[in-house]
């Protein structure tokens, strides 16, 4: 550099000391990208020891709870941390149950097929336009291996493809929204706003995490499984579980999906005797 050049200020002063919106968004996006870099949407199976490693040197209570959890749920699968993890975990586990050879000829499988196929009517009867939802619906059925179309992903391929897996998540979000609207009297007291507004702000947008209300609604929209959620938190005592069962089905006859919850995130847990896809 020629020494006679006046030094240039790389950050010329602006009239405003705040970072620009663009800088804030870029920063947020870079954080998100870092978080997501190379993380698969649905990871391979891993032993709970892997999870215990994350808490080495951490609070005693987490280590104690994980040890206790490991006795009944020795295996887990981590799900990408992108705000869609509850829906992704639910969709994945449901698919695994449907794909499992042991369920193929069961009564549950037949019911499941009928219920999932009828989700199109669930959505259209709640006011979603058929034209707009059918692409999501088709991909969702393909993910469950209930539909095949030449050249389009099926089963596992759907969960591995960004666009296709996002559309299945969208379908599950719309099912949740449809159930909330269909039985609004039941749910309205728990939402802090009118149900239609809640659906627009907290269910339909992608990347917004599900809370108890969305979980209850999805279990009733697709009444095929019970959901059991292990809470890994700092409350004293042993690990506690939240259970969600569909209201109008004989819950005892339904399979159970178990998830691990840590604030803001869900992963899938597998019990000792559960059949799992590799």
């Amino acid at each position: 550099m020629a020494s006679s050049d006046p030094p240039r200020d790389p950050h010329p002063p602006t009239t405003d000391e705040r970072p620009t919106d663009q800088q804030i968004l870029d920063y947020e996006n870079s954080l998100r990208a870092e978080l997501l870099a190379d993380a698969p949407f649905v990871s391979e199976l891993a032993g709970l020891e892997e999870l215990e490693k994350e808490y080495e040197g951490g609070a005693e209570i987490f280590r104690k709870k994980l040890q206790e959890l490991k006795k009944d749920y020795p295996i887990y699968r981590s799900i990408r941390k992108d705000g869609n993890c509850f829906y992704r975990a639910f969709g994945w586990r449901l698919a695994e149950l449907l794909w499992s050879p042991s369920s193929a000829s069961s009564f549950w499988h037949d019911t499941a097929k009928a219920v999932l196929i009828s989700t199109r009517e669930l959505l259209t009867s709640s006011g979603y336009e058929q034209v707009m939802i059918e692409d999501f619906y088709d991909t969702f059925l393909a993910a469950m291996k209930l539909r095949e179309a030449p050249g389009e992903p099926t089963g596992l391929e759907v969960f591995q493809s960004e666009y296709a897996s996002s559309t299945t998540i969208c379908h599950l979000r719309l099912c949740t929204g449809a159930e909330l609207k269909r039985s609004r009297d039941l749910y309205e007291g728990f939402a802090e706003m009118p149900i239609d507004e809640f659906v627009i702000k907290s269910v339909e947008p992608m990347a917004l995490e599900a809370d108890n209300l969305q979980i209850s609604a999805l279990v009733n929209a697709i009444p095929l499984v019970n959901i059991r959620i292990a809470n890994l938190d700092t409350t004293p005592g042993s690990i506690n579980f939240h259970e969600f069962s569909p209201m109008d089905a004989d819950a005892k006859t339904l399979p159970v999906i178990t998830l691990l919850f840590r604030p803001g995130h869900y992963d899938v847990l597998y019990g000792k005797n559960e059949n799992v896809e590799k």
Binding site: V131, A164, L174
Partner: protein, 148 residues
């Protein structure tokens, strides 16, 4: 453009041509990435007899990602619409959902116009317009009041 996105836009195009919602007319859709839609101010509102144009620009992963939507040519005077055409409406950004369509977006914008009681620009209009990026999707919006 992904397959699904082309499929969806083709369907929306057909719907908009066949049975557009009241006050909404597709003006041009020369390709599958940018369309212009004409919207007419509703009767008995402050915008009666006024005509505006919305430009939709679709990202390659539409409808998973929101379209960019701005007013062009004639910008309505409204507390949530900046004079550069940018619109402060949460469904276009944070609350975008793949369940929304071009028609439903146009209707939301028309309803935002219809409920306006005082024609004025946003209080921070000149400051915003001087610093805003080209696309409103690059703004970090704060949504104060969706009811106006």
């Amino acid at each position: 453009m992904s397959n699904l996105s082309t499929k969806r836009l083709t369907k929306e195009l057909a719907e908009l041509q066949k049975k557009p919602p009241g006050g909404v007319t597709l003006e041009s859709a020369d390709n599958l990435s940018q369309w212009v839609v004409k919207v007419e101010g509703a009767k008995d509102t402050l915008y009666q007899n006024e005509v505006f144009w919305l430009r939709f620009t679709f990202p390659s992963n539409y409808p998973l990602e929101s379209p960019e939507v701005v007013f062009v040519r004639n910008i309505p005077i409204h507390p949530h619409i900046y004079s550069n055409g940018h619109i402060c409406l949460s469904i276009l950004y944070d609350h975008w959902s793949p369940a929304l369509t071009i028609s439903s977006v146009c209707l939301s914008i028309l309803s935002m116009l219809s409920s306006c009681t005082n024609k004025e620009r946003p209080p921070d209009d000149s400051r915003y317009v001087a610093h805003a990026a080209k696309s409103p999707k690059q703004t970090n919006w704060a949504f104060h009041d969706d009811t106006v």
